[in-house]
């Protein structure tokens, strides 16, 4: 059970926060993370139209062979994406706590411009305290 990384994607599909924790995924350049986040944003939008029974949220979990992505979509369109090992069971609860840290350390920070990249010591400290090494 491991947490590999966290992405926070704004409502336009731009990556505003990215952090790696435990080893297990390829190391990418910041540009590659930006592209992947934008791609995920598009895919998520498409998946919300795929349900045969009418209204549906976008994909909540996407599983690969060696990892899975758990996506938490807020009411304002921000996406919190947690990349974890397949056996990780706490992804959803960790995302809830990350969302709380975001509501406090980012949203209540007068020096943060909404939808822009997050550069906040307060947020970093809380995320590190929450996830630790990800092991």
């Amino acid at each position: 059970m491991a947490i590999f990384g966290l992405w926070v994607v704004n409502k336009a599909g731009g990556l505003v926060y990215q952090r790696n924790f435990a080893d297990g995924l390829a190391q990418l350049t910041s540009n590659e993370y930006l592209v992947l986040a934008g791609t995920l944003h598009g895919i998520h939008a498409i998946t919300s139209r795929l349900s045969p029974i009418g209204f549906s949220s976008g994909a909540q979990v996407i599983e690969g062979e060696s990892f899975k992505m758990t996506i938490f979509l807020t009411v304002t369109g921000t996406k919190f994406v947690l990349l974890t090992s397949l056996s990780e069971t706490a992804a959803e609860s960790v995302l809830q706590k990350i969302y709380e840290a975001y509501a406090d350390a980012v949203m209540k920070n007068p020096f943060y411009t909404p939808e822009m990249p997050i550069r906040s010591d307060g947020f970093d400290t809380r995320i590190i305290a929450l996830v630790g090494t990800g092991q």
Binding site: D104, K108, P110
Partner: protein
């Protein structure tokens, strides 16, 4: 017929609390409001460093002023409540007891707990409530949002008869990264009066 809020007993909300989150959002907006640029500063924008320091001192001054307006009301309410609950209400005429009452009573009334330390002319708060969710960017490291609290202290001192210049400074330690010092510079007239009263 709903009673007028101004006719309510002032002791009614004595121990009332408000949502820390609601206040944090309000204070965040206040800080952003104080950061708005002064018009006609275009020439200075070219010299970024000068503009930045001017902008920071404006923000500090505006936050201090906002705090001052709160401090005037805090003092009045505190004195009214103290008088109505004590048989022998006392008025402090020496600086040190006045400073103690700010450290304990004002801090408790405004922030819910006494300040952490007191020195000759300073009040220290290891984890200011105002700054709980604020992360100041490196460029602005000299800005302390506790200038608002400094304004409150300045108003209380003015009202008690100790005119002073009160400023807030970031004095972080390993253990307390948000540690803040409120520095009080009493006016010469007060220093002279303190000497006489010795």
């Amino acid at each position: 017929m709903r009673p007028n809020i101004y006719d309510r007993n002032l002791n009614r909300t004595r121990t009332a609390e408000i949502s820390a989150s609601a206040f944090a959002f309000l204070f965040s907006e206040m800080v952003q409001y104080t950061q708005k640029r002064v018009s006609g500063i275009n020439d200075l924008e070219r010299r970024h460093v000068y503009f930045l320091s001017l902008s920071l001192s404006l923000t500090t001054h505006r936050l201090n002023t906002l705090g001052y307006r709160v401090g005037v009301r805090v003092l009045e309410l505190m004195v009214w409540r103290a008088e109505s609950s004590s048989k022998t209400p006392k008025r402090e005429i020496r600086f040190l007891p006045a400073l103690m009452s700010i450290h304990t009573q004002v801090w408790r009334a405004v922030f819910g707990r006494p300040a952490d330390a007191i020195e000759k002319n300073m009040i220290i708060d290891n984890d200011p409530l105002l700054e709980r969710h604020i992360s100041v960017p490196r460029d602005f490291s000299t800005l302390s949002c506790s200038s608002f609290a400094a304004g409150i202290v300045e108003a209380v001192l003015d009202g008690l008869g100790f005119p002073a210049r009160v400023t807030a400074h970031n004095t972080p330690t390993q253990q307390y990264p948000s540690r803040t010092t409120i520095l009080i510079k009493l006016e010469q007239s007060v220093l002279e009066r303190e000497q006489v009263l010795k």
